[in-house]
Every structure is written in C-alpha cells, then in structure tokens.
C-alpha cells in the first residue's frame, strides 16, 4: 500500500515535475456548497508541492514585462506589489530566492500560473489538500491539528519568512499549506462569507441573489474561518506581506 502510494507520487511527479496528485472524491467542506450542504464532489487534481518562490516569480517577471513592478496596471496590482524586492527585476536582501513570493495580487498569481500552463487551485481543492497532516489525508477532527495551525496564527508576522519546503510534506506530498504564507485561490473573491462573521444567517437579500451570504459550517474549525477571513479581506488587485500562492493543474487525460 505504501509502495503503491509512493509509486503514484513518483508517477505524478514525472507527469508534472513539482506537482503532487491529490485524489478526487467526496469532501466535507467548512464552506457550504449551499446552505446545509457541505459535501463537495472533487475531481482529482495536481497541486504544486511548494508555494511559488521569489526566484520563480522573478523569472516570470523577466519574461513578462506587463507583470513587472512599475509596469503592472493599477487595476491589476496595488501599490504594495512586490514592494519588498529591491528593484522590479532584482530580489535584494529583503527577498531571498527560496522564500515564497508574497505581495502579489490575485491577477498576478493567475497570470503566473497561466504562463506555466496551469491555474490557481479552487478553494475546495486547496481545502482538500490542506486537511491533511503528515500521515492522514484528513486530520481535521484532531484538535492537535487545529491547535498547530492556531499556534502559527498567534505568532506575529515580523519574524523572517523561512524558505519553502522546509516543513515535512503532508500525506499528499505537499509542503507548507500551513505555517508559511496565506495562499490565493481561484475563487478567493467569491467565498461570500460576511466580513462580520456574527451576521451569518442574516442575509441582506437585495445584495445577494439566491440564498444570501453563505454561512460557515463547523464554526469550531477556526483555522478555516481565519483563512476565509484573510482571503475575503483583499480585493483581487490587493497585495499583502504574507500572501503568496501555488498553482494547480488538471491531470493529463488518461493519467491514473
């Protein structure tokens, strides 16, 4: 069984270097699909094992002038875009090459992934991959898993950012989904949870068609709540110092 898993990982690696395969199936999300419905049907997908680094993003900026600091249109990235780099095409001491790239907007992250023939993961895909700890694909029932994540939240951001990949891989072979940086997802702008979580279940009907703002299930899953809050707090052109991203891909047709 272990050997089979290892082989599957290697196979996925060969198909797309740097990507791990996450299985599809039914997944209970903290963000309901519709009020009262938490089960999401996920297709299998590939997820980058590590967040995108400063070095990788620099290479992208070199090949895509439109996404360089100073040239990127204001509607796609705010004034904080890559502010920690010493120059539009130079990292400098404030941005080590192997650190996850931060201060990038959703538009920029999307453009990077597109340039790799990839895309951003959806929230559900990210949540699925992040539910794992080192040995279990779904560790969310374990209070110790939740507490570890909360412990990271309680340390201030003034500490230096470590390089990617230093923490152990989780059960899917993916690193750093927790404890390093927040990460963009494709539908970050439409998580549709109210910023004031106390008003859950009290939708303003004229504002939201359909069933009103989604309410978050499993309110004790604070790790998720905080991530949703973080992603909802920024517009798509927004950047902030602990928010990076990684890319996802659909498996090649015919791959296992």
């Amino acid at each position: 069984m272990v050997l089979g898993c290892a082989l599957a990982r290697v196979a996925a690696g060969a198909e797309a270097p740097g990507y791990a395969r996450v299985a599809g199936g039914s997944f209970a999300s903290s963000l309901p699909v519709a009020p009262g419905r938490n089960e999401v049907a996920l297709e299998p997908f590939l997820l980058q094992r590590r967040p995108v680094t400063n070095a990788e993003f620099l290479a992208f900026a070199q090949g895509h002038p439109k996404w360089r600091r100073g040239e990127v249109p204001g509607v796609f990235a705010d004034a904080g875009y890559l502010a920690h780099w010493s120059a539009p095409l130079a990292l400098g001491p404030g941005a080590r090459p192997e650190e996850p790239v931060t201060r990038v907007s959703w538009f920029a992250a999307r453009a990077y992934c597109e340039a790799q023939g990839a895309r951003l993961p959806t929230w559900y895909e990210w949540e699925r991959a992040a539910a794992a700890d080192e040995t279990r694909s779904d560790a969310r029932g374990d209070p110790a898993w939740r507490q570890r994540i909360l412990d990271w939240y309680s340390r201030p951001s003034s500490e230096a950012l470590p390089d990617v990949g230093l923490s152990p891989a989780n059960a899917w072979g993916v690193h750093d989904l927790h404890g390093l940086v927040w990460e963009w997802v494709e539908d970050a702008g439409s998580l549709l949870a109210g910023a004031d979580s106390r008003e859950q279940g009290d939708p303003d009907r004229m504002k939201f068609c359909g069933s009103g703002a989604l309410t978050l299930e499993q309110k004790e899953n604070y790790a998720v709540l905080m991530r949703v809050a973080m992603l909802s707090s920024l517009p798509a052109a927004g950047t902030t110092n602990r928010l990076g991203f990684r890319c996802a891909r659909d498996p090649e047709a015919g791959a296992p």
């Binding site: 439409s190 009907r205 939201f208 068609c209 009103g212 989604l214 798509a236």
Partner: protein, 193 residues
C-alpha cells in the same frame, strides 16, 4: 514661405491628434482586461467595445428571477432620468454569469423580454475564466450553486470613456442620488460640443 510653414504646422497638429487618438490604455482603466465577449446577436466582440462612451456595466444571468429583473429596471430608470442627448451618449453592457446556459439566443430573448434599447445595450457572455477576472475587476463576487442559481452581489459600475471606474452603486429598486449625479456628469456634453 508662409504656406509651407502653415502646412508644417498643420502636419504637426495632425500628428499630435493621431498620437492622442492612438494613446495607450490608462493604467487605471478597466479596459486593461482584454477579454473577448459574444453578444446577443452572436457577434464576437470585446469588453472594451464601448470605449469612447460612458458605460454602465453589470453582471447578470437570464434565468435569475429575483434580483436581475430589478437590476435591469434600475438601469432603465437611471437612463430615463437623463435627457435625450445624454442618454444617447450612454452605453450599457451586461455580462452573463452563466455562459453555459446563456447562449446568444437566450440573451436575445432576455433583451426582448425586458425591452432594452439594443442600439445602446449589449447582453453578452464570456468564458468562465475571463468572467472570473471581470467579476474580480468589478468587485462583484459570485458563486454558482448546485441548483444552477447563483449567489452574486449586484453592483452597477459606471466607467468613463477611457474605462476608468467613476462610480459604483449597489442600490437596486430605487434611485441612488449620488450615483445618478455622477451618471449625469459622465454623460453631459463634452466641452466645445
């Protein structure tokens, strides 16, 4: 001598005019997002099709039976508040959240149902990816529900002739006085006209 000087001056003036006409899209213009659209007559077009005119833009979908009809009637009410010349300068762009089901035929049917003025209105659809980028740009989150309905925030954005966001309103069913004032200003006659 005088004639050649005048000719040169004219040439320079023309050159400047041409350069101005071919100016790059401003950094704060939403038209930086270049996405193809298909309108209700099946014609391929683009998001910046109404460049050069003030534009009201919003997201909707034809099978939406609660807020979207109110959205359309709000847009029409806003238009009705303008005098005829101002209305003539205004354009309206609706982009569907549901490109799968909102085919050009569906869009055309919706246009007829709401009796919109197709000389100035377009009902369009985009690809899913492009739609997400447009929604992000407009600050209009949406989410597809399993029953095919959408959870979406309803906002009307007013862009100037160069695609810059001038005003935004989430008020439906009644007139937003501030937004209307901005709309009047955006559609008023340009100086020298």
């Amino acid at each position: 001598m005088i004639a050649s000087l005048r000719a040169r001056a004219l040439g320079i003036a023309l050159g400047i005019a041409l350069a101005a006409g071919a100016a790059a899209t401003p950094s704060d213009s939403l038209y930086q997002l270049e996405i193809p659209l298909v309108d209700q007559s099946g014609r391929a077009t683009a998001f910046d099709r109404e460049r050069g005119h003030p534009l009201l833009v919003s997201l909707f979908y034809t099978s939406c039976d609660f807020v979207c009809p109110t959205l359309v009637s709000t847009l029409q009410r806003l238009e009705a508040e303008l005098d005829v010349p101002a209305r003539g300068r205004l354009r309206v762009l609706l982009v569907s959240l549901d490109p799968e089901r909102d085919t050009p035929e569906q869009l055309a049917r919706a246009a007829r149902r709401h009796r919109v003025d197709l000389a100035r209105w377009s009902l369009t659809r985009a690809s899913e990816d492009d739609l997400r980028a447009l929604a992000a740009l407009l600050g209009a989150p949406y989410r597809r529900l399993p029953d095919g309905e959408f959870n979406h925030a309803t906002a009307i954005s007013l862009l100037d002739a160069e695609g810059r966001l001038v005003a935004r309103s989430e008020t439906l069913g009644r007139l937003d006085a501030d937004f209307l004032a901005r709309l009047r200003a955006a559609t008023s006659a340009p100086p020298g006209d």
